[in-house]
Amino acid sequence: MTDSAVGSPRTAAVSPTTSLSSEPELVQLLTPEGERVEHPTYSVDLTDEELRGLYRDLVLVRRVDAEATALQRQGELGIWASLLGQEAAQVGSGRAMAPDDYAFPTYREHGVAWCRGVDPLNLLGLFRGVNHGGWDPNEKNFHLYTIVIGAQTLHATGYAMGMQKDGADAAVIAYFGDGATSQGDVNEAFIYASVFNAPVVFFCQNNQWAISEPIEKQSRIPLYQRAMGFGFPGIRVDGNDVLAVLAVTKAALQNAKEGSGPTLIEAYTYRMGAHTTSDDPTRYRLSDELESWKLKDPIERLKAYLVRTSKADQTFFDAVEAESDELAAHVRKGCLDMPDPEPLSIFDHVYAERHPLIEEEREQYAAYLATFEESH
């Protein structure tokens, strides 16, 4: 059966549309070469300053990421999940959000955190092992990192249901990866969001890999088409094109706020680095794949555009460089300055209210530790 059969009353039958092998084109406003192209449905109209701002975001988040990776290599972080290559997907979607909107990230959304105004040091705390996150999600409307794959998509949907009840002019973005689309929770989130018409945007960064597993292990059709099965729109955007991501995400958030319910955005991108600093991609993927994606670098294309259209000059680029070095220094210093948690902090915040067992164990352990103090 053919595409035209989809939903056609005559047959009441549907069949696969695009297979993974025949990749559909994606929404693009800026080519890898840095040429500005138009799209029939999506557009952005940004001032030069806004464009330079996006460039600055991209460079700074990449710099923070590089510094964190370096800190891990030097043993200052236990592990780091690099966003290298996914800067445009994160900055484009992050900048599409209004202050009242809310983001539910995975463990890799450092670029979104940046756009929300979260100090990168908050993120490093988790990877250094001094806490499990610990920032106040409501300060910047940026939820804690969620490590259990997919779980946050239900939290995001519930939060959006709450916004809906409040009649708030706001929406939620649920971030997740290509691998996460296989989790029951993510599909249940699609169901709850569609049934309750919740104002949530499902933002899937398809970076082609779930640790060592290529996208073919998760789906046999392009991921954005998953939305079809749940009755809401799905769209694939060039995840390395910050302008296209911004445009598509803005539109989806707007639709959500206007009561059209959820949208699935598949940001088609690539994980340029290892899954985390603990991973060794040479065991499972070929370097030429990496090479071909280097040509699609999200920063290079925006820089090329800014230069060609002389929207930015060398002094600007130098300034951003300098700022990124300062930021890196701030991250490094802040990381090294992070105090280890106090032993007894283990017992803090387990419950909001008093809890006899926790108090008993805290006291016993404090007394136990005291015996060592004495012995010294």
């Binding site: 806490n131 499990h132 996150g133 610990g134 920032w135 106040d136 999600p137 409501n138 939820h143 804690l144 969620t146 259990v148 779980a151 998509t153 239900l154 939290h155 995001a156 949907t157 519930g158 939060y159 959006a160 249901m161 709450g162 916004m163 009840k165 409040d166 029951g184 929770d185 249940e188 989130a189 169901i191 709850y192 049934v195 803090d348 915040h349 387990v350 419950y351 909001a352 209210e353 809890h355 006899p356 067992l357």
Partner: protein, 327 residues
């Protein structure tokens, strides 16, 4: 004074909480028009609307996961799990998210979510409808696990659970849903005993019998029978399984020197294990016999035609009491 059933006690408590706080929501499968398969939410959707009494899609992980999101937005969701055996699809959301998120946020978020679970057997049901899985959640740090045994406690404990800033698993003994008691509606939450305190429901000097939920009534019947044999049992309704009210347990065991713990759950790693280990450590010299455990067997819950053999009853409790006294 009003005569209410245990089910009605929950319904009235829910209604009171919903009237008092517009942020309180009820969600779950069939909780709307049907009022839940046990009619515990009967009439709530009619009075509070579909916006606050939510029939969810048939997905338990989704129920708890979206409830967490709603709580983060400032709501106080009360989730109904239709039967004990159907909470497992939500296990990850409960154990890795609901229980741990507050600590993850260093206390910067609260998750006032109540998970109501009709629990236990004795109603002649098919598989998965008669389980006692409280030990899984009592072993999970970050959760509080409470169990009501009578209509009045049901009425107060559901309100206390909703008022708590911590996530609560509230077990409702389904075979006692239709038990009746008198409720003095003039009483307020302030008059109620703290949710995490145990209650001595019958005092005695010979053997302490600690039970909770559906087994409290059975333990009381055993105490009555024992009395005829001249044995004075002290019966404790634990009410809270996590945390445990050790003070009440200790005081009783130091008096009687003997303890029998009763629950429907399998004995191996059931609540009785923790209570036995803890009481023994704290009352080692008071105990004249090892703590006896009466519970379900370490098998899957059996077909209903043989469930009476599986469930602790008056005789099995008295047998344990005798073994304790004979020790």
């Amino acid at each position: 004074m009003a005569t209410i059933t245990l089910a009605k006690g929950i319904t009235m408590g829910l209604r009171k909480a919903m009237e008092a706080d517009p942020k309180v929501l009820v969600m779950g499968e069939d909780v709307g028009k049907l009022g839940g398969v046990f009619r515990v939410t009967d009439g709530l959707q009619k009075d509070f609307g579909e916006d606050r009494v939510i029939d969810t899609p048939l997905a338990e992980s989704g129920i708890i996961g979206t409830a967490i999101g709603l709580a983060l937005r400032g709501y106080r969701p009360v989730c109904e799990i239709q039967f004990d055996g159907f909470v497992y699809p939500a296990f990850d959301q409960i154990v890795s998210q609901l229980a741990k998120m507050r600590a993850r946020a260093l206390g910067k978020v609260s998750l006032p979510v109540v998970v109501r679970i009709p629990v236990g057997g004795g109603i002649g049901a098919v598989e998965h409808h008669s389980e006692s899985n409280e030990a899984y959640f009592a072993h999970t740090a970050g959760l509080k696990v409470v169990s009501c045994s009578n209509p009045v406690d049901a009425y107060f404990m559901i309100q206390q659970a909703i008022a708590s800033e911590d996530p609560i698993i509230l077990y409702e003994p389904k075979r006692r849903y239709w038990e009746k008691a008198e409720l003095d509606e003039s009483l307020t939450l302030e008059d109620a005993m703290p949710m995490t305190s145990a209650r001595v429901v019958r005092s005695g000097t010979d053997v302490t019998v600690a039970a909770y939920g559906p087994m409290v009534k059975t333990a009381m019947e055993a105490a009555t029978a024992a009395e005829e044999e001249g044995k004075a049992l002290e019966v404790i309704d634990l009410r809270s399984l996590s945390p445990l009210d050790m003070g009440t347990l200790r005081a009783s065991v130091e008096k009687t020197g003997r303890l029998v713990v009763v629950h429907e759950a399998p004995v191996f790693l059931g609540m009785g294990a923790e209570i036995a280990a803890r009481v023994t450590e704290q009352c080692f010299y008071s105990l004249e016999a090892p703590v006896m455990r009466v519970g379900g067997f370490d098998t899957p819950y059996p077909p209903s035609r043989v469930e009476e053999e599986y469930l602790p009853d008056l005789d099995r409790i008295l047998d344990a009491v005798d073994r304790s006294l004979a020790f």
